[in-house]
Every structure is written in structure tokens, then in C-alpha cells.
Amino acid sequence: MAEYLTIIIVAALINNVVLIQFLGICSFLGVSREMKPAASLGGAVIFVITISSAVASLLYDFVLVPLGLEYMKTIVFILVIAALVQIVEMFLKKTSPALYKALGIYLPLITTNCAVLGVALTNVQDEYNFGQSVMAGFGTAVGYTIAIVLLAGIRGRIDERDLPGPVKGAPVVLLCAALMSIAFMGFGGLSFG
């Protein structure tokens, strides 16, 4: 149990997927303008990354490795993720319209979010087993959600400020991301004995 907790904390805070590893930057910058969409996207990302890292881990361990096809992992993972997102979307639409309404529009967009493929590949690289992969996926997605919700909060304040012309728009958002990144680097000092 402690091992899983460590994996989650490392994935969510120390190796934050957006601020330290630069995966999923597009949606991080693009959807962080308001709090509600940012939080919904975060929820959808947690959902998709957790499921996809579970499926990717099972496929890798029980299909690719026995067949000696490890080098096919990139192709297999991206197709599986794309198919999986479609299935999850259809499933949610049928079974839970409320959840679908909240996360629905974000699900298809996540397919091409590099964080999803990135987590699946990192899990393989770190030689995580099934349980560890699921925890790492969940932790990474929680880290993504923390980052995007924090940025959305900061941007809500920035919008009210009078900034010099050239700084408006992208530069000030990128500078906030830089400061958040410095803050998250502080988590690097955490150690687990």
C-alpha cells in the first residue's frame, strides 16, 4: 500500500506531468481560461488516463511481450487509446448521461493529448506491473488536474489586471506556468525512506 502511495505522490507532484515533463501543454494552456471547463477536463483526464494505463499495461504484459513485439508498443498503444476513448464515450452516453454531460465533450479531445500516450510509454519504460501502472496513471492524471485547476485560478485573477500590451495573452500565462513549475520543483525535495 505504501508503495502505491509513493507512486501516486511521485507521479502527481514530483514528476508533475505538465509542469516538469511538458506533456499535455496544449490543453493546459488552452482550456485553463475558466475554472469549470478546466476542472471538467481534469476529471475526464483522470478517467481516461487511469483506464488507458490499465489496458496498455495488460496488453504489453500479456500480448506484446509473449509475442516478442515490444517494439510495436507505440503503434499498439495509440490505436488502443483512440479506440478506448470512443468506447468509454459510448458507454458513458448509454449508462450515465449525467457524467457524460460533464465530461463528454472533453473525452474525444483527450485521444491526442500526449499525456495519455506518454504515461503508457513511461509505465513500460519503468517496468511497472499492472497495479503500479494503474496507480502511476491515476497519480499522473491527478497531477495534471492539480496543475490545470491552479492555473485556471491564477488566470481568473490575471484577467482583472491591467497588463502592458506585449505581455497580454500567451506570455503572462507562460510566465505563470514557469513560476508554478519552480514551485513544483520544490517537491523534488520530498524523500521517501
Binding site: 515533463q21 506533456l23 495509440i78 483512440a82 479531445l109 500516450l117 506585449p166
Partner: protein, 256 residues
């Protein structure tokens, strides 16, 4: 420019007019992640050029064969195959670069530039033009990566392409080759471009959110181009645009 040879025009377009990183703001993840040094930026750029050129030519050659309904999965399979080839080649011949770029090599698959060019250009034009488009876009991407890598390497390590520039007594600012430095240098580059009045899609992307997914963003035709054409209108219609952009991306995905 009017008389420019269409092949030459493609190269100019990719490097200057529609530079994928500096103007279109595509492929931000590898741009920020691997530019800790100029060499890494160059390595990433060249790998992307190879994949981009090959995918552009293949997709253009197959544009009448691939049915419209399954084009996105087909493109993804083609690109993923090419990326796997490049990854194995780098692993075999350039192990140090392989170690430096790590997971970002397989992630070329989800680089928005590649699927974006396939959807926006290669599937509508001849292989010759698609080849030039791939070269132009790829070189434009590489130039941007090398510039970013040079700035970060100089500030963060005092070197350029590995050669010592700063006198050894001077302490370089290490933060620039760490994660925050990437955001900072990019912020200042966009700031300078804003101050010089250059057209960039950076602010649009941050304001409207396009749709939050790189490739889908490059694919939805009403995203980049329309907003560039009418920036003033876009600012007024921001919240509406953010809402409208998301279903647009969804539609693109549903087609696949």
C-alpha cells in the same frame, strides 16, 4: 511572392510565414521538453523532419486510396510506423541522443505538426508539393527548436552546441535548462514577437483554448485559419468560441 514557384513557396511558408512553433504554436510539448541544449533541439528537429517528410509523401501518394471515413486512423498507423522506424534507427546509431530524448521520440506520433500537415495539406496535394511542405515545416520546426535550445543552453550552462562560451568564472543560471526555464524563454519569445507586432496564434490559443488537443486543433479547419483571419471578432466572441471549438474537435474525432 505572387510569382514564387509553388515548391519554393512551400519552403518559405513552412520556415517563415507559418512557422509551426513560432507562429502556429503547434508541437509545444517537444518544443519545451527537449530544448535543454541546442544539440537536443537539433536531434529532435531532424527526427521530426524525417517522419514529417515521409508521412507527408506517403499520405499524399495514398490520398485517393484511403477512404475518407477512416483517414485519421490510417494516418495514425502510418505516422506511428514511421516513428517506430526512426526510433529504432536512433537507438541503434545514436545511443546518446536516444538517451537524451527518451520518451519524446515515440511521442512524435502525437506531435500536432505531423497529423496537422497530413490533414491540412498532404491529403489535398501531390506528393511533390507535400514533400516540399514537409521539408519547409520540418526545417521551420527545427530552426525554432535550435534557437530555443541555444538560448536555454547559453543562459543555463554557458555553452553553445557544447562549446564553452561564458568564461569559466561566471556561474550560469541553471534554472534555464530546468523545466521552468522552458516556460520562461518561450514566454519572452512570444512577448518579443508581440512587441514587434508579428502575427502569432499564441494568444488565440491561450484565449480561446482552441479545443485543448493539439492534433484535433490543427485538424479542425475552423480553428487556426478562421481565427487568424478575424482576430478582432474572435476577441469579442471568446467564451462562445471556446464552447464552439470543443464540439468541432469532437466532430473531427467522430469521423475517425
Amino acid at each position: 511572392m505572387k510569382q514564387m514557384n509553388p515548391y519554393v513557396e512551400r519552403i518559405y511558408n513552412g520556415i517563415v510565414k507559418e512557422n509551426p512553433v513560432l507562429v502556429l504554436m503547434l508541437g509545444m510539448c517537444p518544443t519545451l521538453a527537449v530544448t535543454t541544449s541546442a544539440i537536443n533541439g537539433l536531434g529532435m528537429g531532424v527526427s521530426t523532419i524525417v517522419v514529417l517528410i515521409a508521412s507527408n509523401v506517403i499520405i499524399s501518394a495514398l490520398r485517393k486510396v484511403i477512404p475518407d471515413e477512416v483517414r485519421l486512423p490510417s494516418y495514425i498507423v502510418i505516422v506511428a510506423t514511421l516513428v517506430t522506424v526512426v526510433e529504432l534507427l536512433i537507438e541503434a546509431y545514436l545511443p546518446s541522443l536516444y538517451a537524451a530524448l527518451g520518451i519524446y521520440i515515440p511521442l512524435i506520433v502525437v506531435n500536432c505538426i505531423i497529423l496537422g500537415r497530413a490533414e491540412a495539406y498532404a491529403n489535398k496535394n501531390t506528393p511533390g508539393l507535400a514533400l516540399m511542405d514537409g521539408i519547409g515545416m520540418g526545417v521551420g520546426f527545427t530552426i525554432a527548436l535550435v534557437i530555443l535550445g541555444l538560448i536555454r543552453e547559453f543562459l543555463g550552462a554557458g555553452t553553445a552546441f557544447g562549446a564553452q562560451i561564458l568564461p569559466s568564472g561566471m556561474e550560469p543560471m541553471g534554472i534555464f535548462i530546468k523545466a521552468p526555464g522552458a516556460f520562461m524563454v518561450m514566454a519572452f519569445m512570444v512577448m518579443v514577437m508581440n512587441a514587434l507586432g508579428m502575427v502569432t496564434r499564441a494568444n488565440d490559443m491561450v484565449e480561446s483554448g482552441c479545443d485543448g488537443a493539439c492534433a484535433a486543433c490543427a485538424m479542425s479547419t475552423n480553428c487556426g485559419t478562421k481565427k487568424e483571419a478575424a482576430p478582432d471578432e474572435q476577441i469579442k466572441a471568446e467564451p462562445a468560441a471556446a464552447k464552439a471549438a470543443a464540439p468541432a474537435g469532437k466532430e473531427g474525432q467522430a469521423n475517425g
